[in-house]
Amino acid sequence: MDESKDPLEESGGTHSDESDDEIDDYVIEDMQKFQDSFKGITRRYRLINRIGEGTFSTVYKAEDLHYDAYQNDWDVEAKENAKWSSPSSRRRMFAHRQKPHCVAIKKIYATSSPGRILNELELLHDLRDSTSVCPLITAFRHQDQVIAVLPYFQHRDFREYFRDFTISDMRHYFHSLFTALKAVHDHNILHRDIKPTNFLYSPTHARGVLVDFGLAERQGTDAHFCTCQLDPRDRQYAVQSSAYSNSLVDRGVTPATDTLVPAVPRSDARATRRANRAGTRGFRAPEVLLKCTAQTTAIDVWSAGVILLTLLTRRFPFFHSADDIDALIELATIFGKRRMREAALLHGQVFETSIPTVTEGGHGFQKLVLWCLGRPSGSERVAKGGAGLSKEELEAVTFMQECFELNPEKRITADQALAHPFIMKRGVGEEGEDEMDVVTT
């Protein structure tokens, strides 16, 4: 299975509703079944609610019954409370002990192969000391049922806040997200499914954790040669000597002037190009859509860029396609034919389209953002004297464009992103708690 959930179907994944008392009957039924099937789980955890369903798993919120018997290095909130609260308030906390310690229990479906489960848990284990990556408290197996215990992270549903995020909020959000990405990428791991649902963010704490490594993989897994791995000169050479280039030259046309309508064989016995497409629609990098066979961690940066686009345009989801083809058309609508051709050729692919709304040059991001926000742009703005993008917004757009570099090799890395002014300037000019962030980093 390579499709993760659609951005729209995941309220479950970012369940932040505290109204635990309202639980549907069928959920109770489901939890009962789960408890029955997993011997001894009730002794350690009390299931509270079902909070999400992933592709290969269901996630429950549960009370950690023996919290105090274990070392809980993972519990950031507890640590923070201890650190910043006065002795008196700490005492208050003790008095408040009634409040249950919650964890998230991820039930991985019994039909998942041990190999798949191993992959996910192993990667999580590798990343155990990484900031902003959801730590694994423990995991165990009962016959074919494997469960992973993760911290229950206080966060808000993306849809609650994406419309009123300020640029300043975005700086914090992406600082946190790219901190997680840097950790993951430093371990040579591709998350493959970066999207708001998988980044549990708490705007009040300006902190988030990256979750769901179900699709993650180590870079180079099943990879084989792709034209994009050649150095630019060799690649250009390969392109120039390709059958396609020759046919163009033969006909004395350039891709832009080519009017010949292509045809496809009715039955095609050629091999299918295969590449990992795992991820979520709308967040897939162009190289994933183009079936690059040597994908890198850059695909995650692209997805992060999509989140930023969502926030800047205040539209969620921004991309919304039924499949990869429509997804590529959406990208082409923005980037234009010329750049899509270049992007495709990087991976030895020829991009051709006659779709009239896909223009040669595409649209600029600045204009796009303004348009999405219902603010005038271009000549109209000049005529009306309306405001374009603010300096802050421009900085965000610039950063986003670097995430949207079509060439994965040239795309900004998580490491570089953390040094980008857009992220570096977080907290500047803000008041109160936010300044602490600047101090601590």
């Binding site: 369903e53 039909t111 039924a322």
Partner: protein, 692 residues
């Protein structure tokens, strides 16, 4: 088997089936793929000894190797003609290139390992030729029109000109007919002799001497000669025969010469010779063009048109040939059929007819990654592909937002009421009448624009759209869309019948109009969509390929969806769709792809359906909630969760049933299966607090 095939051609320097020989090819029946021919033609060449190269002239258009020699030769002539001094270095390079090309031709594929150095030399050759090409003036003689046009384009792309009529300005004549011989125009070192007409004329008288007198009797049969002349096929005849033919031709030329038959087209070739023009066979011309276009000759020996039937019916078991075939196929596709077998050809290929997107391998080694044809709509905003739409704040800009459009429509109407009257007089002057809705809408927008004070948030979005017209013309018309009734009215009708309200409970219901609705239909029946077309199936295969473990693409999602449909109130997650089904629906919507009729119908209903639902959304949501509660018991009874088990490698109808099946239990209880995972789990044991 290749060798056994190759043998006969080895004796035939000029392969009859050479795709470049467009005219003759039309008359000859093809027996096999030109892929073979092309490769073979290289094997078939006589060893291009250096001596030969320097000595230069033999028969025109003999073989590929020879062709390149001639090219180089031509260059030197050209230079002489132009009195352009050539540096010794460049000269050397070109000679080297000649040799390299020749040797590469000889060794065929083996030469692929030829060093970059060689390629470099060839590139220099190319570079040189590209430079001098603009000074060339071509005259195409006895070339069918379509080929001539293409050739003309090709030459033009390098800056050369084409003369419609034969004149003294012509530097190169390209012909399909046998070429009258040149006198020894080039000295052994390729440098001394010129090709000036005077020289030519002087040398000519010596030529008759070379004619074998035994052939003179041929002159009694001029028709025979003529037929040969017009049948370039003869070029590929065994050496002896073509030699004879050559001589015959020559004889005929002399004959005509002496008779001063100026009307004879053959006279043009003769004249051309006389005037020191270069005469190229069409084949040679193609070869030269090819070489100039190619950047890697060792890799791209065959870039010619081939009969597509040969490419398609080719034995796929010959994996080594597959690449060539696909490339040839591509060439065929791009260049059009090279033979008369058009009927076969067209039935094997499907040409896009609408608005297409086509992403394919530049070397045509693999199947296209994407190929989809969207029906050409009357207005581009009616196209079913994703495009920017006018949507409300927060909404996906690619998905039509009917509620928002309605709102705009209302505003528009108001605006029209208020402003239209005022503007009418003025506009009528400049624009004439305004009878159509569309024009009216546009007018209204303009009117609105002229009144910045009256702007609302929505209105600004509208005007913004309008302001983008230059770069995104479609959006301008988009604004007028809500004024077109046909879409909205039928939608209402289908509404109640088709819509299972279950899926509309989602908070995002209106965001994703299409799949959400389509999803309700087939899945509710609890069966995996069986109407999977081959195209979709192949996508499924490809999409799962890289995922760890073999799985079918849709099963899990269907499974998940299934559960959600049955559970109803699991909220927005009801948007889940089996991607294969979505493809199906997409395909159906976008028409002309082989989706089932039912899916197509469903899809169409879906499209129309989405237009009206937003107004009733709230209503529906409420209904959904109630409906869900009522049906709960029913649902629990048949709560089947179909899916695929990675461990048993099989599909199942019901998850709960499957996990207790013997096979699955056996897997679950076999410790060996879990060894690795258990090893990791040991590391994950939760550390207890140290006892204080």
């Amino acid at each position: 088997m290749m060798t056994s095939r190759r043998v006969p051609l080895a004796n035939v320097p000029n392969a009859t089936n050479s795709p470049r020989r467009a005219v003759p090819a039309l008359n000859t029946k093809r027996h096999r793929s030109n892929a073979a021919d092309q490769r073979e033609s290289h094997y078939g060449q006589p060893p291009p000894a250096k001596k030969q190269i320097i000595e230069g002239e033999g028969l025109e258009g003999r073989g590929t190797a020879h062709g390149f020699r001639k090219v180089a030769e031509q260059k030197s002539h050209h230079q002489n003609n132009e009195n352009a001094p050539q540096s010794v270095g460049a000269r050397k390079t070109l000679l080297m290139a000649k040799e390299i090309i020749a040797s590469q031709q000889k060794s065929g594929e083996k030469s692929q390992k030829s060093s970059l150095e060689n390629l470099d030399t060839i590139r220099q050759w190319q570079k040189y030729y590209r430079r001098v090409f603009p000074s060339f003036v071509f005259y195409f003689e006895s070339i069918p029109d379509e080929i001539r046009q293409k050739a003309s384009r090709q030459t033009a792309s390098f800056g050369a000109k084409e003369e419609q009529f034969f004149s003294k300005d012509v530097t190169h004549v390209v012909t399909t007919r046998t070429i009258p011989p040149e006198s020894h125009l080039t000295s052994p070192d390729g440098e001394g002799k010129t090709s000036s007409s005077s020289e030519n004329a002087r040398s000519k008288p010596s030529q008759p001497k070379t004619i074998n007198p035994s052939l003179l009797d041929r002159l009694d049969q001029p028709s025979d000669i003529k037929s040969h002349l017009h049948q370039p096929k003869s070029l590929s005849k065994p050496e002896g025969q073509s030699n004879r033919l050559f001589k015959t031709t020559l004889q005929s030329i002399q004959d005509s010469d002496t008779k001063k038959l100026q009307g004879n087209t053959n006279g043009i070739l003769h004249k051309a010779r006389e005037m020191g023009m270069k005469i190229w066979s069409l084949e040679k011309f193609h070869r030269i063009m090819m070489t100039m276009f190619e950047s890697d000759m060792s890799e791209q020996p065959a870039n010619a048109r081939v009969p597509r039937n040969s490419a398609l019916t080719a034995d796929t078991s010959k994996s080594t040939k597959a690449a060539d075939l696909s490339r040839l196929l591509k060439n065929e596709k791009l260049n059009g059929p090279a033979d008369l077998d058009r009927a076969t050809a067209t039935s094997d290929m499907v040409q896009f007819t609408g608005c297409y997107i086509y992403v394919h391998d530049m070397d045509e080694q693999t199947r296209p990654v994407m190929a989809r044809d969207y029906k050409k709509p009357a207005n581009r905003e009616d196209g079913k592909w994703p495009q920017f739409r006018l949507t409300g704040p927060g909404r996906c800009p690619f998905v039509e937002d009917t509620a928002h459009l309605k709102k705009l429509q209302m505003q528009d109407k108001k605006l029209q009421d208020i402003k239209f009257q005022e503007q009418r007089a003025a506009l009528a002057k400049s624009k004439g009448e305004v009878p159509l809705h569309r024009t009216r809408a546009a007018t209204a927008i303009e009117a609105a624009r002229a009144q910045p004070a009256a702007e609302t948030q929505e209105k600004r979005a509208l005007t913004e759209i309008d302001s983008n017209v230059s770069s995104r013309p479609s959006t301008a018309t988009t604004t007028s869309k809500p004024l077109e009734p046909p879409k909205l009215i039928p939608a209402k009708r289908t509404n109640s019948e088709v819509a299972p309200p279950i899926l509309f409970g989602s908070a995002q219901a209106s965001l994703r109009s299409l799949p959400r609705f389509a999803g309700g239909e087939p899945v509710a029946s609890g069966v995996q969509p069986s109407n999977v077309t081959s195209a979709i199936r192949s996508q499924m295969i490809s999409s799962t390929a890289a995922a760890p473990g073999a799985m079918t693409n849709s099963s899990r999602e269907v499974h998940k969806l299934q559960r959600k449909v049955l559970e109803r109130n699991s909220g927005p997650s009801a948007n889940s769709m089996p991607s294969s089904y979505m493809n199906d629906v997409r395909a159906a919507i976008n028409a002309d792809m082989p989706a089932t009729r039912a899916a197509a119908r469903k899809a169409k209903e879906t499209i129309t359906r989405v237009h009206e639902d937003d107004a009733d959304e709230e209503n529906e949501r409420r209904q959904t909630k109630q409906g869900g509660k009522k049906k709960k018991d029913q649902a629990a009874e048949k709560d089947l969760k179909p899916g695929y088990c990675e461990n048993c490698r099989e599909k199942f109808e019901d998850f709960d049933q499957h996990v207790v099946s013997r096979k699955h239990r056996k897997f679950a209880l076999t410790l060996d299966n879990w060894k690795e995972l258990d090893a990791l789990l040991e590391k994950l044991v939760r550390p207890r607090k140290a006892v204080v």
